[in-house]
Symmetry: C2
Subunit: 439 residues, 2 copies
């Protein structure tokens, strides 16, 4: 009875109304009534009802159907018939043959009441929820949109090494790797290597890849491995050019995501994507601190001269109320809290750098980089970094290098904020934390 | 004297003929003649001549020009004038002001006679050669083309964890990482995690990311870290579907690369890209071995029943001569030389798997995966793999899973072969080998 026809994706079924079809999918539910058994079959995009009439279906098939468990995968051959009473597409399949591709154990180890820990333990089952599949469809669309901008503007894609011989920043939070007879480290960011591309004359580069932080904290916004989006470009006059690129790059990303998934995001997460106007609001640190001070809030001592997370929220609320905008660039960061490679402003105290906050949370740090090697060396030494440990990096600036700047963008954080979730674990395909290496 | 105009990319200069322009670039060469100094300025896409007449240029500017070294970066303000005798675009810039952005030390540490080791030591200088920049422009185009296919066919992009708690294959060639109070490993491939996406119902996924191999060999085709392209999709009937996808995916990639860079590749590397016809030739292992045997060549003992690199070349030559084709799928690999998760053919001996060879070198291994957990367990045990060590992986197959297959594709190898190079070091942005962690 096998037809020669190849299987049809469920979303394309309607073209075959009245015909014999083959469909494959997960059995989402089985309802066994007196006269009839209903099964809902699900693939990645759509669902369809399969109806088995007990009085007209042959014994063998009926017995087979009774053994099927929910979440099993099956292949159904049958006739696709119109039925206006069926909510799902007003059609259903009357099967002539069913093949069980994979029988699911029953019961499933988690249900809808499972804790976050159990859900992460059984991540592959957790991901079957439609809202989780949607999250990764959105992520895919965001990444494609950002790459379209990069391609349209002649950026070169790089894959920088994750195994490195020396720390790119402070040396804290570095994972060490046994590397034959020596020790390597895992890159915390592609910073040095995207700057190397500038010294190589690549002019504009981007990278989307993993970065690693040996951070022992368990907060809802930290993980030990995440996907970072980095870009860097040459011949700039100031960090303002990096900000100007980022804001239109994000705007396009959000327009594309809204066009493709706006309704689904609204229905699933209750969030209407607000397309940001250009330019994004910009606020200098001194003004941001004034706004915080005026509320009477006093940040913990270690945050003197900068914004702590609570301060970021206060300033974000101010900006949101004043400008009706969910994004905010903060500039004027003092050098003591920025990396040694950020270029200083003429005052010698503040940096040509910025953070971008979205819905009150930091998603980007960017800057014009210091490309004058004598100044760069001084700035490294002032931070207590041994020049010897970064000699290969300093070399990039000794044989002609364009002025340049760029940023790092946390894909996971952005995605989380976009759809209104509050934990990076929810939007990470397979989360990694201090206690979590499995699955 | 600063004009308000922003800098122009050199490739766009011609629109400004007769006007004051600002350009920025590397000083590729300086020729100091009796009456005139010529400088060639280079950015990532084009070059332009700057001409300094000694009798009409002001003293300060002239003195400044004399101090400029090759490979310094400069900003030039001046008049773009037509000159039919100038090969480069028949125009030149007469500067009114030059700003040195970064003065290059002289001499450069490497020149055109440098050894491969020295070139890798000074990779950022080596990458300034136009042929090296071209390599990464081609790589960017290839990746964009492959993603376009993935997007058109509704694949989901995943970023699977590189820090893993258990080996995904044999446990050999694994790097270990000190992970807080325990040990983690670096993923050798996203194999288990892309299969997890199938169990999660993601249906079609791809990933482009780093993989790590603690392989101590120094051959021209091995490295300890490289960029792997992986995809996997569900509901297949056999590995033939994976092969059919791959061949049209590669064909599009090569058409796109040829359209964009065909002439440059021809001029730079002397290679004319041959667009492969579909389907690619397929050859079963038993026939491949016959072809090798007929030449009288005997492979080393450890390769019994399969092709060694020399055998691959022999079969490739045969296929190339017979089919005039640079690609060749080899099928019918015996189970003893394939991973435990490859599905067996009905004979119980050979696998539903394939390699793809391009110009005689393996660039892909792919297969239909065994999704029936009882068989999968038996196959793992037959390879001496403890079921306990892969319990989290086996769970993927216990709660309903679609039949699926996929492959891994070596981007670096493909790129190398496409342009006719013979060493992965040449086409890797920053190469990593047993003795190389820098830059």
């Amino acid at each position: 009875m096998e037809t020669k026809r190849t299987a049809v994706e469920i979303k394309n079924l309607m073209a075959y109304l009245g015909e014999e079809v083959i469909v494959k999918g997960f059995v989402e539910s089985i309802r066994d009534h007196k006269k009839v058994i209903f099964m809902i079959l699900r693939d990645a995009d759509a669902k369809v009802q399969v109806i088995i009439w007990k009085n007209t279906t042959d014994e063998v098939l009926l017995e087979q159907v009774k053994k099927i468990t929910t979440e099993s995968t099956i292949k159904v051959c049958g006739k696709l018939t119109s039925n206006p009473f069926v909510k799902l597409g007003a059609c259903e399949i009357i099967p002539s043959k069913i093949e069980v591709l994979s029988l699911a154990n029953s019961p499933l180890p988690i249900d809808n009441t499972a804790s976050l820990q159990d859900r992460l333990n059984w991540r592959f089952l957790d991901l079957r929820k439609p809202e989780n599949l949607l999250i990764f469809k959105i992520q895919t669309a965001l990444e494609h949109s950002m790459r379209e901008t990069f391609m349209a503007e002649d950026f070169i894609e790089i894959h920088s090494p994750k195994l490195i011989g020396a720390a790119s920043e402070s040396g804290a939070e570095l994972f060490s790797v046994k590397y034959f007879d020596t020790i390597a480290y895992l890159a915390q960011s592609p910073q040095f290597y995207k700057q190397m591309a500038m010294a190589a004359g690549f002019q504009k580069v981007f990278e989307i890849g993993p970065v690693f932080r040996a951070n022992p904290s368990f907060t809802s916004r930290h993980d030990t491995e995440f996907t970072s989006v980095d870009f860097e470009f040459s011949w700039i006059e100031s960090h303002e050019e990096v900000m100007a690129f980022e804001e239109r790059w994000i705007q396009k990303m959000m327009i594309d995501a809204k066009n493709k998934f706006g309704d689904e995001i609204q229905n699933t997460f209750g969030v209407e994507i607000q397309i940001p106007t250009l330019p994004f609001p910009r606020i200098h640190m001194r003004d941001a601190l004034k706004i915080v001070a005026e509320t009477g809030y006093v940040a913990p001592k270690e945050y003197e001269g900068e914004l702590d997370p609570e301060g970021e929220k206060i300033v974000f609320d101010y900006v949101k109320n004043t400008f009706n905008h969910e994004f905010m660039f903060v500039t004027g960061y003092p050098k003591k809290i920025r990396a040694f490679y950020h270029m200083l402003e003429d005052n010698g105290e503040t940096t040509k750098s910025f953070d971008l906050l979205y819905k009150g949370m930091e998603i980007t740090t960017g800057a014009q980089r210091e490309h004058r090697v004598e100044i760069l060396e001084k700035q490294a030494e002032a931070k207590g970094i041994s020049l010897k440990s970064i000699d290969f990096y300093l070399d990039f600036f000794r044989y002609g290098v364009p002025p340049h700047g760029g940023l790092g963008f946390g894909l996971t954080r952005f995605l989380m904020l976009l759809i209104g979730l509050r934990n990076v674990r929810e939007v990470t395909y397979v989360y990694r934390g201090p206690n979590r290496l499995r699955p």
